[in-house]
Amino acid sequence: MKAHIDWSLRHSEKKELSRASLAKIDELITQVPEGKHKTVLMSALHLAQIEFGWISIETMDYIAGLLKIQPIEVYEFATFYTMFHLDPVGKYVFEVCRTGPCMLVGSDDIISYIEEKLNIKVGETTQDGMFTLKTAECLGACGYGPMLQCRHKNHEFLTKQKVDELIEAYRSSKVE
């Protein structure tokens, strides 16, 4: 992971990671004991998702090649962890927490509001490919709910008005 993620690197047609990401993976491998490089798989997939938007089978095969492990080791791994999108997603993915503490302070209403506003259901992507709506389990922001995460950033204490502003800001590229 780089100190500042460069979202402009992101390009879904690309098949190979940028030089910066490849260098990061090499660096991470030097930081673990010899022969234990499989440890870097998680970071490699995160980097791949930042650049490609989602993790395709081709991407998994590519990562397996990079780390010199079997493709199945990447498949079984990527399918276990919920942060990895295994299908194409929109430019911005909203992951709204739906767990108890957030529900107590109104996450259900926020989820329905986003559905209405973007005219999609949970799990769907808007026609223009801008937004995907997903729900997530507790994201460690329980005292600051309702909340959603998008591109590794939290948006907390959500209200309908804040949702409106957020969508507008993403649409007009005012935020990354």
Binding site: M1, K38, M42, F80, M83, T99, E137, C138, G140, C142
Partner: protein, 447 residues
């Protein structure tokens, strides 16, 4: 002195997230003291004396855990910090790492020295990616200032420290699942024994500790284990971070001295300031979603009428019949308008979603509980469903590889125990239950 802080005392100092300001304000003293004037065994001894209990949820004495670490000749040992923080209601480790990252780094260095680890890891949940960057920055500063790397402070001790992200899986907070994940595998918990202290990361002896436990080692080494043990109450020594959420007037992360009364914590001006919008409290889950829920009449007083305190013992007073647990310190308050059936269903769905699927009682049982609670919540259940839930519970309890199964079963059992009337009302008043909530439960009449 109720307001004493040992971990969050420096928060608010501008620039405290930088090495320079942190050091200027007394930071990294524990590393200097340990490396220059103490043997690793001395450090372990202070932690034992402190009475510190693991802050990740189970409350196991940290010093004892450390003394179990196997030390075979020529085999590396590892310290792994559990920063997976995913227990619903818990967001205290995040607060600490975001605001005072060097406290964790300092704790990791001092603790790694005590355990003889030359390569230590912080495993942080993937959804905290921005905090991973904060930690990486702090670690780079520590390297640049000679507190990490080779021959730290000329002591001859070498340590490398790495942060690794998770990928979104609650189960990776369980220590053996965490180790699997760190090795680049699915987070399936391991059969125990062997315990990580004997065979942990890559088969080597390993200690896994929560962020807050590691951070607490700093004041323990600075001021001595005895001084730490003076704080708190009984076997609940020291301070604890509590993340308060739900329908509270002032949710947030608070450092309390263990032994503070629950009443003061909920209603006191220095703490949560009561229930939001002037409502009444209906229930409370005091230690993260896995611990039993308490109805309003068992929150500030125990069943025997004593004041309930924020401590391991007092919150557990009454056992599972009328008590709960301090757990991870995820304090969730419910106001009078909340529906217990709905919340129980929500948590059941969480556990069903997060079960790793390895053992059938947990994989199938959590799925069934979710289904049955879903129909009760949506006015489609019957009275037999309540018994069915109790039966599923018994089949999960104690029959699984890791404690997630129990963590899923116990909250459901506790909700039915204290709120059976409300569950039954959802069956006997199906339509009404879809349009309004049940309200406060009645206090049982005791002789």
């Amino acid at each position: 002195m109720k307001g004493r802080k040992l971990l969050l005392d420096k928060i608010g100092i501008s620039g405290i997230e930088t090495f320079e300001i942190y050091k200027k304000n007394g930071g990294y003293r524990s590393v200097e003291k340990a490396l220059k004037s103490m043997s690793p065994e001395d450090v372990v001894e202070e932690v034992k004396k402190s009475g510190l209990r693991g802050r990740g949820g189970a409350g196991f004495p940290t010093g004892m855990k450390w003394s179990f670490l196997a030390k075979p000749e020529g085999v590396p040992r590892y310290l792994v910090c559990n920063a997976d923080e995913s227990e619903p209601g818990t967001f205290k480790d995040r607060y600490l790492m975001e605001h005072i990252p060097h406290l964790l780094i300092e704790g990791m260095i001092t603790s790694s020295y005590a355990l003889g680890s030359n390569l230590s890891f912080i495993y942080i949940r993937g959804e905290f990616m921005w905090i991973l960057h904060i930690l990486e920055k702090a670690i780079a500063e520590a390297y640049n200032n000679g507190y990490l790397g080779k021959n730290i402070l000329g002591s001859g001790y070498d340590l490398d420290l790495r942060v690794m992200p998770g990928g979104g899986a609650y189960i990776c907070g369980e220590e053996t699942a965490l180790l699997e994940s760190l090795e680049g595998k699915r987070g399936n918990p391991r059969m125990k024994p062997p315990f990580p202290a004997v065979k942990g990361l890559w088969g080597c002896p390993t200690v896994v500790n929560n962020v807050e436990s590691i951070a607490a080692v700093v004041p323990i080494v600075n001021d001595g284990g005895d001084a730490y043990a003076q704080i708190g109450i009984g076997k609940s020594t020291g301070t604890k971070l509590i993340s308060a959420c739900g329908n509270l007037a002032r949710p947030g992360v608070y450092e309390i001295e263990l032994g503070l009364s629950v009443e003061e914590f909920i209603y006191g001006d220095d703490w949560c300031r009561g229930i939001a919008n002037g409502k009444k409290i209906k229930a409370c889950v005091p230690g993260g979603s896995s611990v039993p829920i308490l109805p309003h009449y068992l929150i500030t007083k125990t069943a025997s009428g004593e004041n309930r305190l924020m401590s391991y013992e007092s919150l557990a007073d009454g056992g599972f019949l009328s008590g709960s647990m301090l757990g991870s310190g995820g304090f969730i308050a419910f106001d009078e308008d909340q529906c217990i059936v709905r919340n129980t269903w929500n948590f059941a769905r969480f556990y069903s979603h997060e079960s790793c699927g390895q053992c059938s009682p947990c994989r199938e049982g959590t799925g069934w509980m979710e289904k049955v609670l879903n129909r009760l919540e949506h006015g489609e259940g019957n009275l037999r469903d309540i018994e069915l839930l109790e039966e599923i519970n018994k089949k999960i309890e104690g029959n699984t590889i890791c404690p997630l199964g129990d963590a899923a079963a116990w909250p459901v059992a506790a909700a039915i125990r204290h709120f059976r009337d409300e569950f039954e009302w959802h069956v006997t008043n199906r339509e009404e239950s879809q349009t309004r909530n049940y309200g406060l439960c009645k206090e049982p009449v005791t002789a």
